[in-house]
Structures are given as structure tokens and as C-alpha cells.
């Protein structure tokens, strides 16, 4: 069944429910050893929309983001209870191929982390790993994704240069292009602009708006104004629980939960 681009008005929200979501998280508990970091999280992520996760430092929003592509598996002693359903299948089920999962659910990190290779090789890395060998195809992918990340014009003459020769904002857009190259369905962004200057931040926010027409995006941000600017849905985390989830418009003007209201009006955080 092909999925259409849905505008906020045509997707009814009842409490924290979203129709035709990409991710459905049910009763998620996450532990670091014996410490519980996420408590009973229930949330749905709308397809081809931008969902923002906000909350004070240490509230678990980044931890939650990383459960969506099982990056937390890399941490010794981490444990997950509950279900995370991607298009109906629990990604924590026994025989799930994590490698394939991470191809479908891509991630952009807080600090740009390009590989120590050329710009071209950074982007072709993903497709090559997944079996693309023809250089004509790779060339096309590199150009398309760099265009998609709004970086093409700046680097098209210098694709063989080291990725480290780019500025911070350019490196982050390179990392976004790198993720686009493996053709994910979902892009997770963990505070992607926190290490960047305002100009670069602005450009990346524009990029997010464009990308959300084709990809489902979940973005963690500590910048409330950014969440208000870029997202259609917002979830507010505090101390490991999801306190409220709804359309961005509602969350920032008339939230139901008291703590949410206190946070978005700046009384703490």
C-alpha cells in the first residue's frame, strides 16, 4: 500500500496516537545495568513528518532515539523491555537483522563524524557496503545525495578532497548526505545543530523541511524554538518518561500537562 504525504490536519491525533505511523513504541523500558533510563514510553512516529523530542538535559531523549536503530546495543549492560514496532515488526525480536535495520533507519550525530576519507568516499561508503559496485551508479548517488543535502554546489569540483577540509556545517551536511545514500526510510537526528553556528543551523533546518517530504524524521533537540520551527509533532521527555506528545502547535500553545507547560514557557530546563 503506497504511503501518501500526509498533512497534519488529515491525521487525527487522539491523545498520543497517530494514524499510519512508521514507528509504534509500546511500553518501552530501557536499563543501563540496573539503572532504569526510560520508563514505560508509548509513542508513535508519523510517516514522512518531523517529530521533535524535547526535554531538559539527561531526560532520556537521546537514549530513546538510539533505541529506534538499536545503537544502544553497543553499550555493555543495556537492556530493553517492551516493543518497538517498525512497520508492524518488533525490531527487538529475536531474529531481526540489525545491520539491515540500520540501513532503513539512518542516524545523524550531534558532532559531525565524517570518515577519514574523501568526500566522495564518505558518501559512496554506504552504497558500496550494501553491494553497489558500478562507478556510474555511485557517481549518480553521490551527486543526488549531495544535492539533497544542499552541499553539491559547494563541493562538486572537489569531491576527492578530504572530508576534514570542510567546515563544521558542511561536514554535518556531508553526514546527512551519507545517510541519504543508503536510502533509508527514517532519519534520526541527535541534536544535529548543537555543534554548529547559527548560519549552518539555519541551512540545516531548511534541509530538514525539504527532507521531510520524502523521509520520516525524528529529531532530538534541546532548542525549543528549533522544535517549534521544524516539526509537526513534538514529544516532551522528562526524567526518562514521555510526559506528553501531540502536534507541535498544541504542545507549544496549549499543552495538557503541567510540566510540559512549565518547560515550554521557560520556567525550567
Amino acid at each position: 500500500m503506497p504511503l501518501h504525504h500526509v498533512t497534519p490536519q488529515s491525521v487525527p491525533i487522539v491523545g498520543a496516537t497517530v494514524l499510519r505511523p512508521t514507528f509504534v513504541v509500546e511500553n518501552l523500558n530501557f536499563y543501563y545495568g540496573s539503572n532504569i533510563a526510560l520508563k514505560n514510553v508509548n509513542i508513535s512516529v508519523a510517516t514522512k513528518q518531523v517529530t521533535a523530542l524535547i526535554g531538559p538535559s539527561g531526560c532520556g531523549k537521546s537514549t530513546f532515539l538510539r533505541t529506534l536503530n538499536r545503537m544502544n546495543d553497543l553499550i555493555d549492560g543495556s537492556r530493553v523491555e517492551g516493543k518497538v514496532l517498525l512497520d508492524g515488526t518488533d525490531i527487538y525480536a529475536r531474529n531481526v537483522d540489525v545491520v539491515h535495520l540500520r540501513k532503513r533507519v539512518g542516524m545523524v550525530f550531534q558532532k559531525p563524524n565524517p570518515f577519514p576519507m574523501s568526500i566522495y568516499d564518505n558518501i559512496s561508503y554506504g552504497p558500496r557496503i550494501h553491494g553497489v559496485t558500478k562507478s556510474s551508479v555511485l557517481n549518480e548517488i553521490v551527486e543526488r545525495t549531495l544535492q539533497g543535502a544542499a552541499l553539491w554546489n559547494e563541493v562538486k569540483d572537489n569531491l576527492k578532497k578530504s572530508a576534514f577540509s570542510l567546515s563544521g556545517g558542511q561536514q554535518q551536511r556531508l553526514c546527512i548526505a551519507r545517510v541519504l545514500a543508503v536510502e533509508p526510510d527514517v532519519i534520526l537526528m541527535d541534536e544535529p545543530c548543537s555543534a554548529l553556528d547559527p548560519n549552518s543551523t539555519f541551512r540545516i533546518e531548511q534541509l530538514i523541511a525539504d527532507l521531510s517530504e520524502k523521509y520520516t524524521i525524528v529529531i532530538v533537540t534541546h532548542n525549543m524554538q528549533q522544535a517549534a520551527r521544524v516539526s509537526q509533532y513534538t514529544g516532551f521527555f522528562m526524567m526518562g518518561s514521555l510526559r506528553e506528545f501531540g502536534t507541535t502547535g498544541k504542545m507549544f500553545t496549549k499543552p495538557d500537562d503541567k510540566e510540559t507547560e512549565a518547560y515550554v514557557s521557560g520556567r525550567f530546563g
Binding site: L3, D87, V99, H100, R104, I129, H130, G131, K214
Partner: protein, 297 residues
């Protein structure tokens, strides 16, 4: 990019192959570690299994017999090694610690040069150090006093020189870990620099420095090559500084390369004693001392 299409059959096979390669290569890396451990167990295992059998009380207590006559023990070698370590400590510890302190107290080209050449010293093969001490110490004494030359002093000097870079490097690293607030408190109270170093900073770093010293001594205790033409070895019991002296590694070497089986057994016993000494020194530093790098009162 719809999510409902089944993956192409090609993609399936690619995934299988990638996962297989992953498992194989990760296992291969583990096997490499296993091989390295295997080598260790072959060497240590053989020594432990056969060395303790050859170790008797007499080995520790008796002196050497002339070659060919059974009986005898490694007492001379053990005592000799301890003597040499003592002489080495007298040279290695002061120069090493002072050198480390100097690196802390001063920056600039000279300090950098000293550190660079200390690294060079660290990498010189120990037999070359033995050659150096021979030329510097043994020859002149032999020229002045014919018949003399080889001496415990020369052997100790060689071992001491080998110790210096290790002691210096660990002293410097430990001193850097001492919080600068300690130094500033002392200086702020009007103490002199040397007072500050000796009464405040060095005591705080005492454990770590001791660790470095012990590790250096453990390293030189097993050295044979530099002793071959300095301490030279001897088949008499001696604690004289100016005469040749026996040492455990020299005994092991001579016994192992001799044609007699009972001496081979003695060499094994010697190896066990030597390894036990070294292991003891290393373990003491790691566990009894090593957990507290800095004194915190």
C-alpha cells in the same frame, strides 16, 4: 522507497555473505589472540611443569660445584643478582627520579633534548650498554690493576644505566598527575620550590614512583647480555664490589648451554626462581601499590 517490497534475492545473498565474512573475520581476530596466549602457555607451562620439579632446597642454599660434578646450587647467582640490583638501584633511582623531576620543573629546548635522548637510551640494546661499560669501566681498571677489571660494580653500573629511562618516564608521568593546586598551596604559603617538591609533591606521588622503580628493577633483574663482560660471572661466592660476581641469568645461560643434564635441570630451577622474582615485583606494584597511584590523605 516503499517499505512493503520484499528485498531482491540478490540482496538476500549479499547479506548472507556479509554476515558470514563478519563472523569469520571476527573469529580470526579472536584466534590471533588465542595464538598469542598459546605461545605464553607453551613457554610458561613448560617452565612451571618442569622447573618446580628441579627446584630443591639445596638449589637455593648451595654454591656452585665445578662443572661435571653433580650437586651444588644457585645460591651464588641469587646473591649476586641481589647485589647487582642494589648497585643498579643506587645509580638508577636517583638519576631517574631527579631526571623526572627536572622534566616537570622546566620546559624548553634542553628539557626536550634530555627527554629525546632518554628515549634513545631506552631503545639501545642492552648488550651495547654492556660494551659501553666495559670500555668505560672495566678496561681502565684492568689497565691500572692487571688481573682485575670485571667487577660487580661494573655490572651494577650497566644495569643502573638501563634502569634510568624507565624510572624517569614513570616519575614524570606520576608527577604530572599530582594536582597543581597542591603545588600552588605550598608555594602560596611561602615555601621554596625544592621544599614544595620534596615535602609536598613527591610524597603525594610516592606510591606511583615506587611502582616505576619496581618495574624498572624487574626489567633489569632478567638482563644477561650486559653482564657478560662486566660482572662476568664467577663460580665463587662473592659480595665484593671489585671482583667478578655471579648472577642468576648468567647461571641460567651457562647451565642451559652446558652438555650436562643435571645442569639443564638446574637451569630450569633458576628460570623458575628468576621468573618468580620478577613476577613478585610486578604483582606487588600492580595490586598492592598500583591501585593507589596518588596518596590521598
Amino acid at each position: 522507497m516503499t517499505t512493503q517490497e520484499p528485498p531482491a534475492p540478490n540482496a538476500d545473498w549479499l547479506m548472507v555473505r556479509r554476515n558470514a565474512v563478519n563472523v569469520i573475520c571476527l573469529t580470526a581476530a579472536g584466534l590471533c589472540a588465542l595464538v598469542a596466549l598459546g605461545a605464553l602457555s607453551l613457554v610458561l607451562g613448560y617452565l612451571v611443569l618442569n622447573g618446580f620439579k628441579a627446584l630443591h632446597l639445596s638449589t637455593l642454599v648451595l654454591g656452585q660445584m665445578p662443572q661435571g660434578e653433580p650437586g651444588g646450587g644457585l645460591r651464588d647467582g641469587i646473591v649476586g643478582t641481589l647485589m647487582l640490583l642494589a648497585v643498579a638501584a643506587v645509580i638508577g633511582i636517583p638519576f631517574g627520579i631527579l631526571g623526572g623531576v627536572f622534566q616537570i620543573e622546566s620546559k624548553g629546548k634542553f628539557a626536550w633534548t634530555v627527554r629525546f635522548f632518554t628515549d634513545v637510551l631506552n631503545s639501545i640494546p642492552s648488550i651495547v650498554i654492556g660494551l659501553f661499560v666495559y670500555t668505560l669501566v672495566v678496561l681502565p681498571i684492568a689497565a691500572a690493576h692487571p688481573g682485575d677489571g670485571y667487577s660487580a660494580l661494573a655490572g651494577g653500573i650497566a644495569l643502573g644505566v638501563i634502569m634510568v629511562p624507565t624510572v624517569m618516564r614513570t616519575t614524570e608521568e606520576i608527577l604530572r598527575l599530582v594536582p597543581s593546586s597542591l603545588r600552588e598551596a605550598s608555594l602560596g604559603l611561602g615555601a621554596t620550590q625544592w621544599r614544595t617538591m620534596f615535602s609536598v609533591i613527591l610524597p603525594a606521588a610516592r606510591t606511583g614512583i615506587l611502582t616505576g622503580v619496581m618495574l624498572a628493577m624487574a626489567r633489569v633483574a632478567g638482563e644477561t647480555a650486559p653482564l657478560l663482560f662486566t660482572a662476568f660471572g664467577s663460580n665463587m661466592f662473592s659480595v665484593k664490589l671489585d671482583k667478578p660476581i655471579d648472577a642468576l641469568p648468567i647461571d641460567i645461560y651457562n647451565d642451559a648451554t652446558s652438555p650436562y643434564n643435571y645442569l639443564h635441570a638446574q637451569a630450569l630451577a633458576g628460570a623458575i626462581i628468576l621468573i618468580s622474582m620478577i613476577l613478585l615485583m610486578s604483582l606487588i606494584t600492580r595490586y598492592a601499590l598500583g591501585n593507589k597511584v596518588l596518596e590521598q590523605k
